[in-house]
C-alpha cells in the first residue's frame, strides 16, 4: 500500500548479518529494506516501494544460511541471528538465468535498468535463442494509452495499482497460465468496455515500455504533434472535430485575424 504503517519499536530490534555487516532493524522489516539500510544494493524488478511486494520476479533473491531455498528479499522478513548473503554464487546464477530467460522472450529495448542488469550479471540470452518469444500485437483500443505486451515482464505493478494499491478499479488482471500468461481485461474486451477509468496509474508504474501514453507512442513513431492532436481527438468520444472545439464563426474569424 502507499502508506506503510510504521513499526513503532514496540518490540526489540532484530539482529542479523547481511554480507558480513551486522545490522539491527525492527521486527517485520523485509530483508530488502534491511539491506538497503546497510547500504547494500539488491537488484529488483517487480518490487516498487509504492505498491505491495509480491516476490514475483525473483530477481531480489538472497541466500539465507540454513534455509532450504533462496528467499525473495522483498517479502521475506528478517529473522533473529540470520546470516544473509546477497550476492553469492548461487544467487548470481539464479539472477542470471532469470534475466536470460526474460531477455530471450521479452523485448527489453525500452527498459534501460534491465539492460544494465543483463550486462552486470554477464547474461547470455542467446542460450535460449530458438526459444519461443512473446510477441503479441500492440493493443490500441482507447485514445489515451497503448498496451504493448511484447515488452511486458509481468511485474504485476499495473494490476496492483488498478486494484487495491491505488484506484480500486479492477479493470486488468493476469490471464492465461504459464508461458501464455498476459495482463488482460475481462474476456480480452477493449478497455473502453471495462471498468477502466483511464487514470493511467498503470502507465505511471510500468517499468518497461509496455504501457505508454498514446501521444508518446505516436511521437516515437515520428507522427507530427499536430497530427497526434487530430488522431487522439478523433478517437475520442466524437464530440470534437478535427479543427478542435466547435467555435462561434465570428470568434474563429477573430482568432484568424490575430
Amino acid at each position: 500500500m502507499f502508506i506503510k504503517s510504521e513499526n513503532f519499536m514496540t518490540e526489540e530490534n532484530i539482529q542479523l548479518t547481511i554480507d558480513g555487516i551486522p545490522i539491527s532493524v525492527p521486527k517485520g522489516t523485509t530483508i530488502l529494506d534491511a539491506a538497503r539500510e546497510a547500504g547494500i544494493d539488491i537488484p529488483v524488478l517487480c518490487y516498487f516501494a509504492h505498491t505491495t511486494a509480491n516476490g514475483l520476479c525473483r530477481l531480489c533473491v538472497v541466500d539465507v544460511e540454513g534455509s532450504r531455498v533462496l528467499q525473495a528479499s522483498c517479502v521475506a522478513q528478517v529473522q533473529e541471528g540470520a546470516v544473509v548473503h546477497t550476492n553469492s554464487e548461487k544467487v548470481q546464477r539464479s539472477r542470471r538465468t532469470i534475466l536470460e530467460m526474460l531477455a530471450s522472450t521479452v523485448d527489453l529495448s525500452e527498459s534501460p535498468e534491465l539492460q544494465e542488469m543483463v550486462v552486470e550479471y554477464d547474461c547470455h540470452p542467446e542460450r535460449f535463442e530458438n526459444g519461443k518469444k512473446r510477441q503479441p500485437e500492440i493493443i490500441d483500443d482507447n485514445p489515451v494509452y497503448i498496451r504493448d505486451y511484447s515488452q511486458c515482464v509481468l511485474c504485476w505493478r499495473c494490476v496492483q495499482v488498478c486494484a487495491d494499491d491505488a484506484q480500486f478499479t479492477y479493470a486488468i488482471n493476469f490471464s492465461g497460465r504459464g508461458f501464455d500468461t498476459q495482463i488482460a481485461t475481462f474476456f480480452d474486451k477493449p478497455l473502453t468496455e471495462t471498468s477502466c477509468v483511464f487514470c493511467g496509474n498503470c502507465v505511471g508504474v510500468c517499468p518497461t515500455g509496455a504501457l505508454k501514453s498514446k501521444r508518446e507512442h505516436l511521437l516515437e513513431q515520428g507522427v507530427a504533434p499536430d497530427q497526434i492532436f487530430e488522431l487522439t481527438r478523433l478517437q475520442g468520444k466524437g464530440k470534437r472535430s478535427i479543427g478542435g472545439p466547435h467555435l462561434d464563426r465570428q470568434y474563429q474569424n477573430a482568432m484568424e485575424r490575430e
Binding site: 502508506i3 487514470c199 505511471g204 470568434y251
Partner: protein
C-alpha cells in the same frame, strides 16, 4: 522510450487537490505527465485529467488573449489584458452604483487555491458589498 529535454515539477491545474506532477518536455512539447511520489498529496497517483489532459496547452485554437466586442452584433476582437480588465472593472462598478450591490453575485472556482477563493469572497464582501458568494464545489 522518449527522453525529455527537461522535466518540470508543477501542480496539476485541474482541481483543488493540488496533485504534484512532473511534466516531461521535448522540443517545447509536453509528451508525458508523471505523478510525484515525494509528497503527501497524491503519492504518485494521478487521474485521467492530470495524466493525459495536457492537449489544451498546445491546442491551435487555445485562447491566448482576451477577446472583446463592444456590442453583440460585432465580431470579437483580440485586446490587451489591461483594456479587458479595465472594462470589466468599470462595468462592475457601474452596475453596483446603478442597481445596488445586490445586483452582483460572485461565483468562485474549485480550480483556484484557497487564497484565490479567499480574495474573491473578500472582493465580493468588501468591494461590491454583497454576500451572494458561492463556490462551484457546493453541489
Amino acid at each position: 522510450m522518449l527522453k525529455a529535454d527537461r522535466v518540470v515539477h508543477t501542480t496539476c491545474p485541474y482541481c483543488g487537490v493540488g496533485c504534484q506532477l512532473d511534466l516531461h518536455i521535448r522540443e517545447d512539447l509536453i509528451f508525458r505527465a508523471e505523478g510525484r511520489y515525494d509528497n503527501q498529496v497524491n503519492f504518485g497517483q494521478l487521474c485521467v485529467k492530470g495524466r493525459f489532459g495536457f492537449d489544451y496547452v498546445h491546442a491551435a485554437d487555445r485562447l491566448r488573449k482576451p477577446l472583446m466586442r463592444s456590442s453583440r452584433n460585432e465580431a470579437l476582437q483580440p485586446t490587451s489584458w489591461d483594456a479587458a480588465l479595465d472594462t470589466v472593472a468599470k462595468r462592475l462598478i457601474d452596475t453596483r452604483d446603478q442597481y445596488g450591490p445586490r445586483s452582483v453575485a460572485v461565483l468562485v472556482s474549485a480550480k483556484c487555491t484557497n487564497e484565490d477563493n479567499y480574495i474573491l469572497q473578500k472582493f465580493a464582501r468588501a468591494v461590491i458589498g454583497t454576500n451572494t458568494v458561492d463556490h462551484c464545489a457546493r453541489l
